[in-house]
Amino acid sequence: MTNDLLLLIFNADFLFSLIRITAPILFAALGAVIAEKAGVVNIGLEGIMMISALFGVMFAYWTQLWWVGVLGALVVGVLLALMIGFFAFELKTNIILAGIAVNMLGAGGTIFLLSMLTGMKGNTGALVTRELLIPTINIPLIKSIPVLGQVLSGHAVLTYLAFLFVWLMWVLLYKTPLGLNIRAVGENPDAATSIGVSVQKIQYIAIALSGAMAGLGGAFMSMYYSQGWNSGMVAGRGFIALAATAMGRGEPVGTMLSSLLFGLAQALRTKVSGIQGVSSYLVSVIPYLVTIIGLVAYAISIKNKLKKRSPASKGA
């Protein structure tokens, strides 16, 4: 049994699917990273993914161009995030509540919208043809390397983009003036204000970028991963992304690692639930359990570090 399991897991196919499964979580998690760096909680990632996913399919269908779908999803993601920002910053709605409102729109509003736009119930069915899916790329040289090629080549454009964004996000946060401002606003808004940084403007920018990431994650889900939109599609990935970010200490690279861990748990679930005699329900618990354990482990490590740094101070 253990041998079978190891064989099932450590092969090129599995690692390929690990990357594929991680990508949407990573997009949303990067969205959570940029928001958190600016001191903004974006719990609406889940809803943004759902709505963007639907619009991605619709835009692609209307124009018969996949990249218009992806761009449309991105724009819708930004607009929704700005809406959360508007209610939170201008009208002083608690930002967690504003996010939950967007999640409600994502859960029911999408079904309403779909039925309004197309008359379809609960999924986009045959709207998405093969040509409208996000295309995959074979990387010329890597493709021909035996195992590595199978794992790394042949992914969707957006999969590569997700991992590229990890680096871009790091550059943005640590190598640009905007990133410096974002971090300043997140760490100490008063200090940022005192040196003439507009906290609100920076937070708007951050949440807009956060929405863009979630929008791309949504497009990935409907236009590649599940090949069409359906109402149970995002399945908590937006929430998982929040957990992955907390576990990754809000840093791009750390968040990528925790997203991979989460993808691993989910890929395992798919594999293991195929085995006879294993309860698919209990296997489904793994990703969520891993998240809580990860959060706890991280929190303990932080605590120990703090203790080491200042032996005099006692834990709260």
């Binding site: 719990i43 209610f87 504003a98 409102a101 729109l105 509003g109 309403f112 618990v285 929190a299």
Partner: protein, 376 residues
């Protein structure tokens, strides 16, 4: 006194404006999407309490009682959210704990043999204890390790759901039935109807209303309730004034868990005969809407729950009798959420009231001072 009343009046009007705005959004969407917008609106707004007959419109008592019955679980989830949000604990685990409370209540209702009366009490108490214990997890992780209760409670919802489904499928399933469900509850465990007319309006609603009073007294008449509200308003201030903040954070979430557990078990034993929830029941999220409508004040929870139950029924009827889908309810709820919780919504007017009151108070004060001056 009159200044307070004016602010209260303002708050009520502002709430009404938010609800009006949400319904306006709904109306606009109905007119945009429906071929029969007037029929849709009629069923959405009036359908829940009025039946349309060829002879005219009649008050529909049965439908009204069904709405009252639907309030029961959301009163509990609303109260739970009130307590937790009052302490600024954004614990979103009500959803899972309600399902768990229903499951615990169901199992004890099936396998325990007790006299009626005692049986229900044992089921409900067990669900309360389990609910409270489960909420200890996010609460303690928050207090001891600083892990966000929001994230852990969200993850817990899924864990609870899958574990329940596992046991429902592999241990407690009634294999003689086509669908996955448990064996039926003992008659002794069922929560009886107030009027036996099929509306499923049970004594659960009465219990819910009693809990409204208990929680209202707890929040506004005990030092624990005061401490919970203080922690919510200003945690550092609460700490400096000697409140054990960590303990209060745990307390608020455990109470939230107990209320959710009770709500789940009462809903299950009142309106069902077997356990057949295959997914999270959704009452936890509705509880958040209810708490927002009630402004975290337990006394207003029944009113808010009534409103949501009415709206839910209206949307059901609308989707049956017209071409507008039921999911409209989520859009209305989201709009209410955004505007109702918006502190700055219509804030200019509040500002004006506050300024006017302050000016009047100042004038009165000056008058009093000058009078005193004359006297001496």
């Amino acid at each position: 006194m009159s200044s307070d009343r004016r602010l209260l009046l303002f708050n009520l009007l502002r709430g009404a404006a938010a609800i009006f705005l949400a319904l306006l959004v709904a109306t606009a969407l109905i007119f945009l999407s429906s071929k029969e917008p007037l029929t849709a609106l009629k069923y959405l707004l009036l359908g829940p309490v009025i039946s349309f007959k060829s002879t005219g419109m009649v008050f529909n008592t049965v439908s009204f009682l069904t709405i009252l019955a639907a309030m029961t679980p959301t009163i509990f989830s609303g109260l739970a959210v009130c307590v937790m949000f009052s302490a600024s604990q954004f614990n979103l685990g009500g959803e899972g704990v309600i399902m768990l409370g229903g499951f615990v209540g169901a199992l004890l209702g099936i396998y325990l043999k007790l006299n009626t009366g005692l049986h229900q009490v044992v089921c409900i108490l067990a669900a309360a204890v389990v609910g409270g214990l489960v909420m200890l997890i996010p609460a303690l992780l928050k207090v001891k390790l600083g892990a966000s209760e929001m994230v852990t409670s969200l993850m817990m919802n899924y864990i609870i759901m899958f574990i329940i489904l596992h046991f429902l499928n592999f241990t407690f399933a009634d294999r003689s039935k086509g669908a996955t469900q448990s064996f039926p509850f003992e008659a002794t465990a069922k929560i009886p109807e107030i009027v036996s007319n099929g509306t499923k309006l049970t004594w659960g609603l009465v219990i819910a209303l009693i809990f409204v009073v208990i929680i209202a007294l707890f929040m506004y008449r005990t030092k624990w309730g005061y401490a919970i509200r203080m922690v919510g308003i200003n945690q550092s201030f609460a700490q400096y004034s000697g409140i054990q903040v960590g303990m209060i954070i745990v307390l608020s979430q455990v109470i939230g868990g107990m209320l959710s557990g009770i709500g789940g078990s009462i809903e299950m034993l009142g309106r069902y005969n077997t356990f057949l929830w295959r997914e999270l029941p959704g009452y936890g999220w509705i509880g958040i809407t209810v708490a927002i409508l009630a402004k975290n004040n337990p006394i207003f929870v029944p009113l808010a729950a009534l409103f949501i139950a009415y709206l839910d029924k209206g949307c059901q009827l609308m989707s049956i009798n017209s071409d507008v889908p039921f999911e409209m309810i989520d859009i209305i709820q989201a709009a209410i959420f955004l505007f109702f919780a918006a502190e700055q919504f219509l804030a200019k007017y509040r500002q004006r009231i506050v300024v006017r009151n302050a000016q009047r108070d100042l004038a009165l004060q000056e008058a009093a001072v000058s009078r005193e001056g004359k006297l001496s």
